[in-house]
Symmetry: C2
Subunit: 286 residues, 2 copies
Amino acid sequence: MSERLTIVGVGLIGGSFGLALKAAGFDGEIVGCGRREQPLERAVELGAIDHWSTDPAEAAADADTVLLAVPMLAMRKVLEQLAGTLPGDAIVTDAGSSKGSFVRDARMLDNPGRVVPGHPIAGTEHSGVEAAFATLFVDRRVILTPTQDTDRQALLRVENLWRMTGAIVETTDVQTHDRLLAATSHLPHMLAFGLVATLAGMQEEDDIFRYAAGGFRDFTRIASSDPVMWRDVCIANRDALLEVLNRYHGDLQALTELIERGDSERILELFQRAKTARDAHVGDLG
Amino acid sequence: MSERLTIVGVGLIGGSFGLALKAAGFDGEIVGCGRREQPLERAVELGAIDHWSTDPAEAAADADTVLLAVPMLAMRKVLEQLAGTLPGDAIVTDAGSSKGSFVRDARMLDNPGRVVPGHPIAGTEHSGVEAAFATLFVDRRVILTPTQDTDRQALLRVENLWRMTGAIVETTDVQTHDRLLAATSHLPHMLAFGLVATLAGMQEEDDIFRYAAGGFRDFTRIASSDPVMWRDVCIANRDALLEVLNRYHGDLQALTELIERGDSERILELFQRAKTARDAHVGDLG
């Protein structure tokens, strides 16, 4: 019998997962699930899924593996709809940006050994299945955060699916994931949303944006990301995000004081340290 | 007699200005000036300038127009070297990010009518003449901020030179320029330098940068910019920068409090407002 994969949430991530697996010759059937019929029909046309249902329990009725790729706050509701109806040995994995909240929500499932929390470090500022593409995960990291309950076999299966998409799979613990992602992803999104909101609230709004250059465009690209997804991240990864936000507040306040005092030596030191770190770690990717 | 242009500071901006004018068929001679001989030799090889001198007074001795494209805090020293030796009708313009400080520094020149403060809203995170290219200014805005003293003829001449590079020339007043640029350019650079410095100071530095994705790369690109240039901007445009930094502090604090309270409705509103503004103003440039 061929493998059955169910993707709940066929947007940028879920849709790209389906497209990538199909492109890699996935030998099985992919069932999509979402709230609205039209994007699911479109996902079939685009070749991301084979069939669909708007009912998670129905979509996952015969599933070997279920990927949840919905915003963090929608996870709980989907899990409630799956609990009790899912085949007992079906693997449940996810693509959410915060792993602690998913682990907590997934406790309602009957078979904790089959739960494999995961997070592809990939995406664009666009959303929806129209934005999906088969190479989204190529050479991108996917972080899996198995718990002490997770079966080794379930973990390997999810690892293999992600490897088929071209991703580099790593595992770490839930807390480390949430702390690191708060720093590298969630915090920058807060700063970018915050910056654009600040400028949009200023008197000369039109002129301000007219004078913006390429650096501003790059810097604020992530402020075009899906507001619902990011609202949910703020709620789901609240503690780790607040910790790094507070650290950043302190550092920005310190820089502001250096500027107030005109302490050009220490301002230069700070900028040089930042440039060195960025050039060393982010390298020639541009 | 063919026109003589002197470019003081033949780096990314000054070098690109020379290359762009040459590419557009500029019918005259371009003399470069800088502190070190090697980059000036290189600028000749690359075709950005025809000749060079490390002495500003010598480089500008017969100049019709002088462009100062050095970091803001170096402007004053160069102007001191030019004062008293410059031909009386030579036009002096600049490419600095802060116009108030240039206008103050340029008061030491003998002929205030020939001073045309300017600022090309263009650049990359790279610096030096090796990073220069002839199309840097194409379709980019150049903001000129003539004072009440500026001659109309001098303004037109500088406008024409920038138009030859492919730039879109606009004029505004010094204060408006400095306020708008503090918001769209100087503030984002502070946030990006600050973010990278924050992460570089965290315990798991290596892991943090390893988990960074494309959004982080875009967001922090401007933190690879020239530290000296940006240190100087902090000093030169201090007041306008502090004003917008304080406004941003307040807005970020408010967002932090929404996250603390878990106020998902108002978080979503803020993100939607930011996305709408970004999509509307920055548009499909990506």
